[in-house]
């Protein structure tokens, strides 16, 4: 008898049936895996954030229609049918969640980290956002409003973090290197 896990066997069973029906191409699956393992990740979102910090027209366009504004980048990866970018500012902090499953702007950030999918984060960030953010190291004063964006239906959110103090004079590439995945989810500040 095989000592493979039940999940591995079920996955192979599905893949073999789909191949027989001509519905799936093994190499196409390899390619999807390689894409998310190697090429699609938060560096894409970071480029967009850095440009928004340096180009006011782009920033306006990005906040008005995220999907359209980032289309020229032709990022690989999906889940970008309706990208909404929300801007942090003094007195306003945005944070993103998918309360029901794991929706996330793949093409901008890659696949979500484990904690983003975790039941604890998904329920608690809505119920007690300040406390959860504090656990992530984001201490908000009482005067700062917190907005929690739930990625329901087709909308995927991305946080535009505040540009860090002391970054004057840096070019877009140097600025992009300062931008983290967690800041674009809203659980970190820069």
């Amino acid at each position: 008898m095989s000592d493979d896990s039940p999940q591995k066997i079920r996955t192979e069973a599905i893949e073999s049936l789909l191949k027989e029906r001509g519905l799936i191409d093994e190499e196409a699956i390899d390619e999807v895996i390689a894409m998310y393992n190697e090429r699609v990740g938060p560096m894409n979102g970071a480029r967009v954030v850095a440009r928004a910090w340096t180009d006011p027209d782009f920033k306006r366009a990005l906040l008005a229609d995220g999907t359209e504004a980032v289309a020229p980048y032709e990022f690989e990866g999906g889940q970008m049918e309706k990208l909404v970018v929300v801007e942090n500012s003094p007195g306003l902090h945005n944070v993103v969640v998918c309360t029901l499953c794991s929706c996330y702007p793949w093409a901008m950030l890659g696949l979500p980290p484990r904690w983003y999918k975790d039941p604890a984060y998904r329920s608690r960030i809505v119920r007690e956002p300040r406390k959860v953010l504090k656990e992530f190291g984001v201490h908000l004063d009482d005067g700062t409003e917190v907005r929690v964006w739930d990625s329901s239906a087709e909308v995927r959110y991305l946080v535009l973090p505040e540009r860090p103090a002391g970054s004057t004079g840096l070019d877009e590439t140097a600025l992009a290197a300062l931008v983290t995945r967690d800041a674009m989810i809203g659980v970190a500040r820069l």
């Binding site: 008898m1 095989s2 000592d3 493979d4 896990s5 999940q7 591995k8 066997i9 079920r10 996955t11 192979e12 069973a13 599905i14 893949e15 073999s16 049936l17 789909l18 029906r21 519905l23 799936i24 191409d25 093994e26 196409a28 699956i29 390899d30 390619e31 999807v32 895996i33 998310y36 393992n37 190697e38 090429r39 699609v40 990740g41 938060p42 560096m43 999906g78 029901l100 499953c101 794991s102 929706c103 950030l109 890659g110 696949l111 980290p113 484990r114 999918k117 975790d118 039941p119 604890a120 087709e154 995945r181």
Partner: protein, 105 residues
């Protein structure tokens, strides 16, 4: 690793993700329908595990893929069960006999 952590803990997780991705792209099912199945599987797991520990996200993902294919009439429950049983009967060292996919298994 572009994400700062390993994307898939086990190779089968990458393959179920890749299959769902490609099947939705090809229109075998709509991503929204798959998402609805995923939400249902996650909700069922959470209802049965109120403490939320050891959340098996990709197990839910795999179940959602199976359900989506059954609902789309692409595979049937009996055919899938038979294929699973046949694969489970393979000898231990089956991987050593095959092919260019070895790295992914």
């Amino acid at each position: 690793m572009v994400n700062g952590e390993v994307t898939f803990d086990e190779p089968w997780q990458g393959r179920v993700f890749g299959m769902a991705h490609e099947l939705a792209r090809a229109g075998v099912f709509a991503w929204d329908d798959f998402r609805a199945e995923l939400i249902a599987r996650i909700a069922a797991w959470e209802a049965a595990h109120p403490d939320g520990h050891d959340y098996p996200y990709y197990d839910c993902f795999l179940e959602a893929l199976e359900r989506s294919l059954i609902v789309a009439d692409v595979v049937d429950v009996k055919g899938l069960a038979e294929r699973v049983a046949a694969l489970a009967r393979r000898p231990h060292d089956h991987d050593h006999h095959h092919d260019h996919r070895h790295d992914h298994d």
